[in-house]
């Protein structure tokens, strides 16, 4: 098995990057107009978290499909690793989102369609793990949870893309934009993109760790059987 040789200083780069991003979120980016005080700055963390939660979902889908095709136990481990991280980031996104909602609109939850989608993503992750817990046989666990992941994936686009078109949404147009263009001030955009890159890097770092652990576990199992 060839291991990709990553330089050992790369986590430190991530560390510094995120410190810069955090500082920039508070001091480089200007105050947002029309938002209460400085509360809008939480958006620099909330949006990337939601983005990573969805990214994790996509990674899970890719490896679920691969598992269904090749039945390689490692693909199932990859899918589960992505789902675990996706769950964490989905929780973070929900928490930061509702903190912001509390400051802006005085309610922790508003039934805005985007809020509902992240809640449903959370439910999907919970269901995915509940299903995995309920199956003892490894191969069957992989096949069933991969099937559920595919099923969940085909249903999700309706909530993310269709419902907001029909319903009015609390989420500002800068984030979901019907024209497809980004409407933010450029400094805010810099910080947002920087934060996105940082959070994505964090996801892949932790994801790679989880997969390496799974590989080790697999090697131990095979050795135990020999």
């Amino acid at each position: 098995m060839t291991e990709t040789k990553r330089p050992s200083w790369w986590p430190w780069l991530l560390f510094v990057w995120m410190v810069v991003v955090i500082w920039a979120a508070f001091y480089y980016a200007p105050s947002a107009r029309g938002f209460k005080g400085e509360s809008a700055r939480i958006v620099f963390f909330h949006v990337p978290q939601a983005w990573v939660a969805v990214l994790a979902f996509c990674v899970n889908l890719v490896f679920s499909i691969r598992y269904l095709r090749r039945r390689d136990a490692l693909d199932d481990a990859r899918a589960a690793a992505a789902a675990r991280l996706g769950l964490v980031f989905a929780v973070l996104a929900t928490v930061t989102g509702s903190l912001f909602a509390r400051v802006m609109w005085n309610h922790f939850w508003n039934w805005d369609p985007r809020e509902v989608s992240i809640a449903i993503l959370l439910l999907i992750y919970f269901a995915y793990f509940a299903l995995r817990e309920a199956v003892a046989d490894e191969e069957r666990r992989g096949a069933l949870s991969a099937s559920y992941a595919v099923l969940a994936f085909v249903t999700m686009p309706f909530l993310i893309f269709v419902v907001p078109r029909i319903y009015w949404s609390l989420h500002p147009d800068t984030i979901i934009n019907t024209r497809g263009s980004i409407d933010m001030e450029s400094r805010m955009l810099h910080v947002l993109i920087g934060s996105l890159v940082g959070f994505t890097g964090l996801f892949f770092w932790l994801y790679a760790l989880d997969v390496r652990l799974a590989r080790l576990r697999q090697k131990h199992q095979q050795r135990g059987e020999v």
Binding site: V116, I120, L123, Y148, L151, V154, T155, F158, V163, I166
Partner: protein, 229 residues
């Protein structure tokens, strides 16, 4: 050598389901009783007078689908769970191809849902004073909604039957998949209640039909995997 066509196999599976269901009536009873009990409880407390005119379409549409959905959840998982419980699943695997098994059981669940709707919806409208202006629109939403709901429920039932088979797991897995569908069903029902034109339900109906289509296509590929594992 398969002498029978897919359709005849599917209909045979459907026939088997109906016959065994009519004998024991477990699913019919469970679903029917659940729905009637919830309906009567809601109607007794709320009835036709307690909701203001403006709120009626929203609340009544939502309540209707809550009753229908939860009643359905109590009975739709049976099609697969009972095979595993009775250990007849292995025989069924040998006797029919996966597509036929899925189609037959899907049709069974669909008929069950349509019967449930036929029973509950008129009663609901009468007891709750739910005045629906576009009956044709409502009928369309109910019909295609049943297809979408039955599709989701059947494939999830197949999945959980191969896991622990518990009703709780069925509910946990179905809810995230059914929520977008429910949003559109309630929206469509509300549109049918508020507008005379049948076209008012079309936006929601488009979404419902797409959801049904997407779920069915995914199930066609996923069911053999789940069934034969």
């Amino acid at each position: 050598m398969r002498a029978s066509s897919l359709l005849s196999e599917a209909l045979a599976v459907l026939g088997k389901e109906w016959t065994s269901e009519l004998r024991s009536r477990v699913a019919l009873n469970a679903i029917g009783l659940f729905a009637l009990t919830t309906l009567i409880a809601v109607a007794y407390q709320i009835g036709p007078y307690r909701i203001s005119e403006a709120d009626r379409p929203f609340l009544l549409a939502a309540l209707l689908w809550i009753i229908l959905f939860f009643a359905a959840s109590s009975g739709l998982a049976r099609v697969f769970v009972k095979e595993e419980d009775a250990h007849t699943a292995k025989t069924l695997r040998l006797a029919a191809r996966p597509a036929a098994v899925f189609a037959g059981k899907l049709l069974f669940n669909l008929i069950l849902l349509l019967c449930l709707e036929a029973l509950i919806v008129p009663l609901y409208c009468a007891l709750m004073g739910f005045a629906v202006r576009s009956v044709a629109g409502l009928a369309l939403v109910l019909a295609f909604g049943a297809v979408a709901l039955a599709s989701t429920a059947t494939i999830v039932a197949a999945i959980i039957a191969r896991a622990s088979g518990s009703g709780t797991l069925f509910a946990i897995l179905t809810v995230p998949l059914a929520l977008p569908l429910l949003v559109f069903l309630i929206q469509g029902t509300r549109a049918a209640a508020q507008a005379d034109a049948i076209a008012a339900v079309f936006p929601a109906l488009r979404a419902i039909v797409s959801l049904a289509g997407v779920t069915l296509v995914a199930s066609v590929y996923l069911f053999p995997v789940v069934w034969h594992d």
